[in-house]
């Protein structure tokens, strides 16, 4: 089972690695490109930008989305913005600073070379999006506007009202649809990938299920790109869209792809608190609100039930400003989330169950006026009011942390290729750029960097050097994979028990949130590891999925995804148990400073934990990729 991971990081000075690497990569001659077919699964920022760009280069592309249109992928929901080291504000930003902020924000658990490249290409992303007609916010003089996000002291975030993700995705989608119109991309909607197919050890295709007709199909290609997003929905309640799932990456994992750092999940500090057991999702309130909103709780526990407007200024604890004076309300997400939890644990939380803190715009409204605040955040305030029936113009918002993003994902090298040759992984689905915590406005940047500016170069090298024979999609390997997928569907339908897929999803999700959420302990994780196999066992003996496999069957779709979460959840807990330190979003309560901050153990854990499937879920094989820091000096993160 011995496996060593080669990250393929180019030699040479950090700032020149990418350029040197591009030069060293083998090229596919333009006339030959059309002889290669590439499968792209997922049409979010990473998938859509990759599919469009690869097609522009001349490759044949097949793109798949489980939604009814490529434009619906969950990237669309990102509100706040996208970072880029343009330094348009002349406030001291640079590629190096964005690199440094990202490495530090990730609590020194990301690869230097990847992050530096990300910062380098960030500027081209903004150019590309503007050229596509993305209507970014502008100043009266016609230049682009910027704002600040957590973990940075410069203004480098570009935005389009509170709908930046939507506008960037529609930009990538328009580029994709242009290629569809030109016939270079074949788009497959309402089509879910259920397995990846290996021929001669290389990833050569996928198996899909047509969600409308239930038809199981196989697709052969020369390379496969997974851009299938994160696994936040393992927790049942998260800010993710309902359909987000781990199935594509988990299936690839079971075919041999290593899963890296599954315990790194991001808990976003500003979400609308949960209101009851019926709840199906949590709604995020953009981090950009922390530019003007001030976070506080009552100083006295006796005041927590009071109308916040009746609590005088000197009886409020603006705890972020108090504890972190230099970053104040703009500390990184993991820090803000944990601080909120600490205040609630101390009994100072507000709202139902004491699980909330205030985000107050009173001071901003006084300073710049209600109309300016409305222009900046109007749509978010409206969304808040619709859900809670309270107006943030009149009374402070109540917020609480919620699962938002996952930094872990399939292991990839510098070329974004997993340990399975030919299987590339982009965007949130890979693990590579954010370490143990992602900074705000960096997800959009990474998705588009991977799709527009990295994979188009690196995949060519693979195609030019892999030396594999063509496949048609009818080889025995494909047939066997299709039979397996079909058997799995049949098995889910044959159980005929009494519990719905959702009830199992909820049970797993609440357990993960409790034991593997914002605070984790060795004992709690062990408890979860004991319980998850039991839930799984009940799932496979008491699941109720009605209808058949040959039609549009929402319960069957859901059941397949929950089955994968039930296996994946165990790996997440195992990784969290194994990482006996706290870093970024991974907080082990046993490892903290006196002030309650994350306490890293650099001697023992400065590595990527990549897990290999062994056939036994209880005994995955841990492979470590040491993280080598040549440029930055590992230090304790301080935002004080």
């Amino acid at each position: 089972m011995g496996i060593t991971l080669d990250s393929k990081i180019p030699s040479g000075p950090l700032a020149q690695k990418w350029e040197k690497h591009i030069f060293d990569l083998k090229l596919v001659n333009p006339a030959n490109k059309r002889k290669f077919t590439i499968i792209v699964v997922g049409t979010g920022l990473a998938g859509a930008s990759a599919a469009a760009t690869l097609a522009e280069l001349g490759y044949n592309v097949h793109a798949f989305a489980f939604q009814d249109s490529a434009r619906r992928a969950h990237s669309i929901a990102a509100q706040g913005g996208i970072n880029a080291a343009k330094n348009y504000q002349n406030d001291g930003d640079s590629v190096y600073r964005l690199f440094y902020d990202t490495i530090k924000g990730g609590d020194y658990r990301a690869r230097e070379a990847n992050v530096y490249r990300l910062a380098q290409v960030s500027t081209s992303i903004i150019d590309q999006c503007v050229a596509q007609g993305v209507p970014f916010a502008r100043e009266y003089g016609g230049t682009l506007s910027n704002r600040s996000f957590g973990g940075a002291q410069v203004s480098r975030t570009f935005y389009a009202r509170g709908q930046t993700g939507q506008q960037l995705l529609l930009g990538a989608y328009s580029a994709l649809m242009r290629q569809v119109g030109l016939g270079t991309v074949k788009m497959h909607e309402r089509s879910e990938m259920l397995d990846v197919v290996l021929v001669n050890g290389h990833a050569r295709g996928i198996v899909t299920r047509d969600l409308e007709t239930g038809k199981i199909e196989t697709w052969g290609a020369d390379a496969v790109c997974l851009a299938t997003g994160g696994y936040g929905n393992a927790f049942f309640l998260s800010t993710n869209a309902q359909g987000c799932n781990v199935t594509a990456t988990w299936r690839a994992h079971k075919k041999g792809a290593l899963f890296a750092n599954p315990c790194y999940t991001q808990i976003h500090p500003t979400c609308i608190p949960r209101s009851g057991d019926h709840q199906s999702k949590l709604t995020l309130m953009s981090e950009s609100l922390r530019n003007d909103g001030r976070v506080w709780v009552p100083k006295n526990k006796a005041d927590v039930g009071k109308d916040p407007r009746q609590i005088p200024e000197d009886q409020r604890d603006y705890y972020l400003e108090r504890i972190y004076p230099s970053f104040g309300n703009l500390v990184p997400r993991d820090i803000a989330s944990r601080a909120a939890k600490r205040m609630c644990d101390l009994g100072q939380g507000v709202g139902p169950g004491g699980l909330g803190v205030y985000l107050d715009f009173g001071a901003a409204i006084q300073r710049v006026g209600q109309s300016v605040v409305a222009e900046r955040y109007g749509n978010l305030f409206e969304m808040y009011q619709r859900i809670t029936d309270e107006s943030p113009y009149q009374t402070p918002m109540r917020i609480y942390p919620a699962v938002h993003y996952t930094m872990g994902g399939l292991w990839v090298d510098y070329n974004l290729m997993s340990n399975i040759p030919g299987l590339h992984v982009l965007g949130e689905a890979n693990f590579s750029d954010h370490g143990a915590n992602r900074l705000g406005a960096s997800a959009l940047m990474q998705g588009l960097a991977d799709g527009y500016f990295v994979i188009p170069y690196t995949i060519g090298h693979y195609l030019a050097t892999s030396g594999q024979a063509k496949v048609s999609g009818d080889e025995p390997e494909f047939k066997a994979a299709a039979v397996e997928v079909k058997a799995r569907m049949d098995k889910l339908l044959a159980i005929k028990g009494n519990r719905s897929p959702t009830s199992f999803h909820k049970e797993l999700g609440y357990l993960l949130w409790d034991k593997c959420g914002m605070g984790r302990t060795g004992d709690g994780l062990q408890e979860a590891l004991d319980k998850i196999p039991q839930i799984r066992e009940e799932f496979w003996s008491n699941l109720n999925v009605l209808g058949d496999g040959d039609s549009y069957n929402v319960a069957l779709e859901k059941a397949g995804r929950v089955a994968d979460f039930l296996e994946f959840g165990e790996l997440m807990c195992r990784d969290a148990l194994e990482r006996k330190e706290s870093c970024g979003g991974h907080f082990r309560e046993e490892y903290q400073t006196e002030a309650g901050e994350a306490l890293r153990d650099d001697d023992n854990f400065t590595h990527v934990a990549a897990w290999q499937y062994t056939g036994d879920l209880a005994k995955p094989n841990l492979v470590k990729e040491p993280l080598v820091f040549e440029e930055v000096h590992l230090s304790t993160r301080s935002y004080k």
Binding site: R72, Q132, G142, G276
Partner: protein, 250 residues
């Protein structure tokens, strides 16, 4: 709170559908409309009946996946609100609520409340883009764009492609959808080189898909969850006329 839901059930594209009545019990006022359907689906499944299929994904009003004609109104009674953002507190004890799919010939029903909106993608593929390949872009600040124009472009760009405009229109016209895309680019310098061709190509596909013409009832604007103004249709008509007069080739 107890309610009765009358819901369109249809097995597949070919099957004949019908309205079915379902009581739902213990609905909390804090629930969203779709969470109420979740509860109904759990109740149906425990009674060994197949759940109701409906499209949804983000549940925060941005992906455009959710649909539903609620009591005759696309996305329900609230202005500027998608179905997924509709809350239960808008209804009263004992209410009977009818729930139907988008009704328009270019949006065939796939199952129950789920329709096929791929016609929108095909319209987009004909011209809803700026033809610029990755890597060709000049510096983002090279061309200043007056805030006023950038804002008008953004107003139009907010369209989520849900199709409520079509469902609301007695002609099943998709001109609000097409107009929004056309206007987004028309207000930006990047959209100018293909401005004439874009409007003709997109409208050509619009007509081929079987969407009707706009006869100015403005129901689309009222139903649009993003409050896209019918102004975009007027702007598009102007562009369309100009492009036609100039003899632009498709």
């Amino acid at each position: 709170m107890n309610l009765t839901l009358k819901i369109w059930r249809q097995k597949n594209r070919e099957a004949k559908g019908a309205m079915e009545s379902y009581p739902v019990k213990d609905v909390s006022p804090d629930m969203s409309f779709l969470e109420m359907l979740d509860i109904l689906n759990e109740q149906l499944q425990s009674a060994k009946q197949e759940p109701v299929a409906f499209d949804h994904d983000c549940r925060e009003g941005i992906c455009g996946m959710c649909s539903l004609v609620i009591n005759g109104l696309p996305h329900g009674p609230d202005a500027a609100t998608t179905t997924c953002q509709l809350h239960r507190r808008k209804f009263k004890e004992g209410d009977v609520i009818t729930i139907e799919p988008w009704r328009a010939q270019p949006f065939p029903v796939i199952r129950d409340l789920v329709t096929d909106r791929s016609a929108f993608d095909r319209i987009q593929a004909r011209g809803g883009f700026v033809s610029i390949g990755t890597g060709h872009a000049p510096d983002a600040n090279a061309i200043p764009i007056p805030k006023f124009h950038a804002d008008l472009s953004m107003d139009a760009a907010q369209c989520i492609g849900c199709g409520a405009c079509v469902a609301a229109c007695k002609n099943a016209s998709a001109m609000l959808f097409v107009g929004a895309k056309v206007a987004q680019y028309a207000h930006l310098p990047q959209g100018q080189p293909e401005r004439n061709r874009r409007v003709l190509a997109m409208m050509d596909q619009h007509d081929k898909e079987g969407f009707g013409a706009c006869t100015n009832y403005q129901e689309c604007e009222a139903a649009c969850p993003k409050e896209i103004s019918v102004r975009v249709i007027a702007e598009m008509n102007r562009d369309f006329l100009k492009a036609t007069l100039l003899g632009t080739e498709l």
